[in-house]
Assembly symmetry: C2
Homo-oligomer: 516 residues x 2
C-alpha cells in the first residue's frame, strides 16, 4: 500500500528512536477495566438452575470431606451435619443460601498505593499474572527451578504494566528455605510493587506473618488492618469433595481478618471431576459453595470470590489440557452460575503449550476471550503462564501483556459524535484518494490506535533485516530492559526499616513451616 | 498430576500409533456450523442508526465514483443522480431502501456435491480459507511467488478439512499466464474439491469461462445454472468512494446469473478511510450499500453479502495492521450494521505477523473470536493468511484449522441431562479420589473432548524428546502428508472430459485477459 508523504515523514522521525526502545505509553486508563459487553451464555436459565440444584444435592446428600477439625466444628455449629469418623460434612441448602446472602457481591482490595485499588465484582475486570509455577523459563537460560531473583523480576514486570492489576506468586522461589519463603516473597511484593499482594494459605503462622508485614507497610493497627481487604489468597479444593487443612485454615484466617479468598476447585473433567462438562461444573459449583459457606460461617460478609477453573484432560494421555474449547464453554457456564448466586468470580487465561509459540498464542487468547466474554471479574494467569502452569515464562509475560492491553482497548467505547462519524471529512476526500494528510486525521493520529509493545507491524523486508525474530525473541530484550531500568515505588524509609526489622526477627526465630 | 493406571494403559496403547500420524477424526458435524451465541454489541441502537443515516447521507450528498459507464447508466435508470463528467453517482435513500428490501436475508450456495451446500445468513457460520496472497510460504522453501502447484496444494488442504467450507483463491498461481489463470484455478477447485468455488471478477470474459466450467461439472443447461447460487466472488471497492470497472462488471455479471457477490470495502482507518472508527465504519457502510444497490438494480433478489473488513494502519509507519483491537470493535459494529439492514455479512480472521509465531496466534484468534462473536455469517481468511495477506502459509493453514475446529467445538451445546450432571457419579467417587476408571468416564471417554491435530499436550520431557518443535514445525509434516495422500473427490469421467475439452479449446483461443 502506498504511504503518504506525511506519514512517511512521521514514520521517519519515529524510526530515529532506538529500535530496541521499550515504549511506555500513557496507560493510566488501563488501571481500571470495565467490561462493556453483556456476558455470553452457553446454558439456558433452566440448565443453570439444574446445575445449581444438583450441586446443592451433592453437598446435602454426599457432602464434602473437611480435614481440619476446627472447620468441621464451625460448620457443625452453623447447622451442617458432621460425620467425624468420615470427616464428612453434609451442608444443607438453607445454610448455603444464608451464606450466599451474607457474602458481598462487590468489594475493593486496597493496597498501600490507593490509586492501585481494585474493585472486584459488577463489570470490573481485574487482570492478574500467572500464579503457582515451580519453574521459570526465558530464552537465555531455558527452563530451571524458580529462584528468589526470578520471583523479584516477575514482581518488577508486574509493577511495570498498568494493565496488570495485582501481584501473584508468579514463580516459586525455591532457593529460599521453605520456612522463610513467605517472608521473602511478601517483602518483594510490598517493596518492589505497590499493587495488592497475594498471600499463600500455607498455615496460620505464615499467614499471620504476611498480614503483619502488610499492616506495617500500610501503617495500621491490627484492628485497622481488618477494616478493609488489602490482600487475597487462592483456596484450591482437593477435588473431588475435599478441603485440606491449610486450605481450611486459610479460609478461616482470611475471613476472620476480612481479607479475600478466591475459592477455586481444581476440577479437571475426566480426572478429578466427571468427564461430562455438566458434571465437572456441578462438582466445581458444589465445592466452591462449600468454601464460601465456611468463610461466611466464620465471618458473615467476608469477601469471597467464586472460583472457576474447570478444564479437561487430554483424551490420549490423561494429562491436563488448558486453553481448550471445553474450558471456554466451562468459563461461560461458570459466569452464569456465579451470576445466579450473585458473587464476583474468577476465570483464567491459560495454555498447554510448552513454549511461547503459535499454539500458546491461540490457546491463551481463546481462553482470555472466553473468560472476558463470560464476564469474569478476575482473570488469573493473564501473563506469563506456560507449560500447563509448570513454568512461568518471562517472554510470554510480555506477549500476554500485549494481549491484555489489546483487551483493554477493546473494552473502550466507540465514539460516534458528528466529528467522529465524519461525513464532512469523507466528502472532502476525492474518490480513490486517501485520508493520510487531512486535518481530520492529523488531529487524531497520535492516539487513534493501539500501539503494540512487542507485536510487529514490519513488512517481510524490514522484519528480515531486523533479524527475522519471532515474537518471543522480540519479547526477550523488552523484559530485560524493564528489569534493568526498574525503580521501585516510593516507600517511607521508616516503614521500610520496620518491615526489614520484622523480617530479620522472624528469620532469627526460624520463620514458619507450613502444616505437614 | 498422577495418572491412573487405567489412563496410563490407554495412553500406552495409543502411543503405539505412529507419532507423526495425521489423525482424521470424524468431523462430519463440522460441515454445518451454527453459532449459538447472541451477537456482542459495541454500539447502542442509536449509534448504529446514526452511522447508517450518515452513510445514506454520504451516498446522497457526496456520492460514489463509478468507473464503468454501464453501471452508471443502470443506476441512473433506477433513479440515482449521475454526473457523467465526474463519473459520480449520488444514490438517494429510497433507492437504497428498495435495494435492501429486494436482497435476500439468507440463501444457499450449492456446489457439485450437495452435502457441501452452505447456508449464508441467520446463525450459520461459513469458514473460508485465505484469499488473495501473491506469495506462498512454508518452512521448507520459505517465501516465494505463488505457483499453480501451491494453488492446487491449498485446494487439497481445503478439501481435506470438513471445517473449511468453501474454496478461496488462497494464493495467486503466478506461473500461469494471466490470460489462462482463471482456467487453471477453476479447474483445480472443480476437480480437486467438491466445495463451492470462488471466482475472481476480473472481466466479463473470464467470469463467463468460469461460469461455463461450473455449469459443465454440475451437468446443467445455461438457464438451469442461474437458478441457484453455485459460486461466489469478492467485490472490493477502491476506498474511498470508488467502484472500478472489473468490480462493476463483476457485480453486474454475478447478479445477472444469480451468483453471490460479497461486497467488501477496503476501509483501513487512517489511510483509505477516516482515522476514527465511526468514520471508517460510515464509509464502509456507504460503499457496501452502493455495491448492494447496483446488484439489486441489475437483478432484484440477487444474493449479496455485506462485507466488513475495516481495520487500521499502524500509527508509526502508516502500514496496514491486522488482528488489532480496533478491528475487533469494527467487526462487532459491522455485525450490528448488517443486522440493521437485514443482510448476511462477512468478517475475517487475520494477522499482521510475518511468521506463524505467537503473535500470529494471538492476533488471528482475537480476530476470529471478534468475527464469530459479532455473529458473522462468513469468516474469510480463516486458514492460511499471514504477513498482512501478502503470503499464504501452509503451516499456518494447519494451525488455523485447529483454531477453527476449536470454534466448531465451542459452538456445540453443553448437555445437562441427569446422567451428564452426574450427581450419582460424583457421589460414587470418594473424596480426594478420581474419576479415571469409573463407568461414567469410560462410557464417554473416547469422544468427550476435542482431540487436537497439531496442538501438543506433551509435557516438557516428552516435547523435548520429540525434538522441541514449535507448533509451526509440527504443522509442516501434517500438511505435506495430507497433500501426499490426497485423493480427489469422484468426478464422472465424461464430465471431466468435457471440462478438459473446454479448457483446451479456450487455451487454444488464447484464454481471456482482464480489463486493462
Amino acid at each position: 500500500m502506498a504511504v503518504s508523504r506525511g506519514a512517511e515523514h512521521a514514520a521517519g522521525r519515529r524510526r530515529g528512536r532506538k529500535d530496541r526502545e521499550v515504549r511506555v505509553p500513557s496507560t493510566a486508563h488501563y488501571r481500571r477495566l470495565v467490561n462493556p459487553f453483556d456476558p455470553l451464555r452457553v446454558l439456558d436459565d433452566d440448565q443453570v438452575e439444574d446445575i445449581h440444584q444438583a450441586a446443592l444435592k451433592v453437598l446435602a446428600d454426599h457432602g464434602i470431606r473437611v480435614l481440619l477439625p476446627e472447620a468441621r466444628s464451625r460448620l457443625g455449629a452453623a447447622g451442617a451435619a458432621v460425620d467425624e469418623d468420615e470427616q464428612l460434612v453434609r451442608i444443607g441448602p438453607d445454610l448455603v443460601s444464608a451464606s450466599l446472602a451474607a457474602a458481598p457481591p462487590e468489594f475493593d482490595i486496597t493496597p498501600r498505593e490507593p490509586t492501585r485499588r481494585i474493585s472486584v465484582g459488577g463489570r470490573n475486570v481485574v487482570m492478574m499474572p500467572a500464579g503457582g509455577p515451580p519453574h521459570a523459563t526465558d530464552l537465555d537460560r531455558g527452563k530451571r527451578t524458580g529462584t528468589r531473583e526470578d520471583f523479584e523480576n516477575f514482581v518488577r514486570l508486574t509493577q511495570h504494566f498498568d494493565v496488570i492489576h495485582t501481584n501473584n506468586p508468579i514463580v516459586e522461589p525455591q532457593d529460599v528455605p521453605l520456612e522463610l519463603r513467605h517472608l521473602a516473597s511478601t517483602t518483594a511484593m510490598l517493596t518492589l510493587s505497590d499493587k495488592a499482594p497475594f498471600i499463600y494459605a500455607r498455615g496460620r503462622e505464615k499467614v499471620a506473618d504476611c498480614f503483619e508485614m502488610i499492616r506495617i507497610v500500610h501503617g495500621l493497627t491490627e484492628d485497622e488492618f481488618a477494616t478493609q481487604a488489602r490482600c487475597f489468597t487462592i483456596i484450591n479444593t482437593n477435588s473431588p469433595r475435599q478441603l485440606d487443612e491449610p486450605m481450611c485454615l486459610g479460609l478461616i484466617q482470611f475471613a476472620e481478618s476480612n481479607q479475600v479468598s478466591v475459592i477455586t476447585p481444581f476440577t479437571l473433567a475426566g480426572a478429578m471431576a466427571p468427564v461430562t462438562l455438566a458434571g465437572a461444573l456441578t462438582l466445581q459449583h458444589a465445592e466452591s459453595l462449600a468454601g464460601i459457606t465456611l468463610a461466611q460461617v466464620v465471618r458473615p460478609g467476608a469477601p469471597v470470590v467464586y472460583g472457576a477453573f474447570t478444564s479437561n484432560v487430554d483424551m490420549r494421555s490423561g494429562a491436563p489440557a488448558f486453553g481448550t474449547p471445553e474450558a471456554v464453554k466451562a468459563a461461560l457456564a461458570s459466569g452464569q452460575l456465579a451470576r445466579l448466586i450473585g458473587l464476583p468470580w474468577r476465570s483464567s487465561a491459560v495454555s498447554t503449550s510448552v513454549v511461547a509459540d503459535a499454539q500458546a498464542g491461540y490457546e491463551t487468547m481463546m481462553n482470555m476471550m472466553g473468560a472476558a466474554l463470560a464476564g469474569a471479574n478476575i482473570i488469573i494467569h493473564a501473563a506469563g503462564w506456560i507449560e500447563s502452569g509448570l513454568s512461568a515464562s518471562f517472554e510470554k509475560f510480555i506477549l500476554d501483556v500485549e494481549m491484555v492491553q489489546m483487551f483493554a482497548e477493546v473494552f473502550q467505547q466507540v465514539g460516534t459524535s458528528e466529528a467522529e462519524i465524519a461525513v464532512d471529512a469523507i466528502g472532502a476526500v476525492a474518490p480513490g484518494g486517501h485520508f493520510f494528510g487531512t486535518d481530520h486525521t492529523l488531529e487524531r493520529y497520535d492516539s487513534a490506535f493501539y500501539e503494540p509493545i512487542v507485536f510487529t507491524r514490519q513488512n517481510f523486508g524490514q522484519w528480515t533485516e531486523a533479524g527475522s525474530q519471532t515474537a518471543a525473541q522480540r519479547a526477550n530484550p523488552i523484559w530485560k530492559r524493564i528489569v534493568a531500568d526498574f525503580e521501585p515505588p516510593h516507600l517511607e524509609g521508616s516503614i521500610r526499616g520496620e518491615l526489614d526489622d520484622y523480617v530479620a526477627r522472624r528469620t532469627a526465630e526460624g520463620g514458619a513451616m507450613p502444616p505437614s
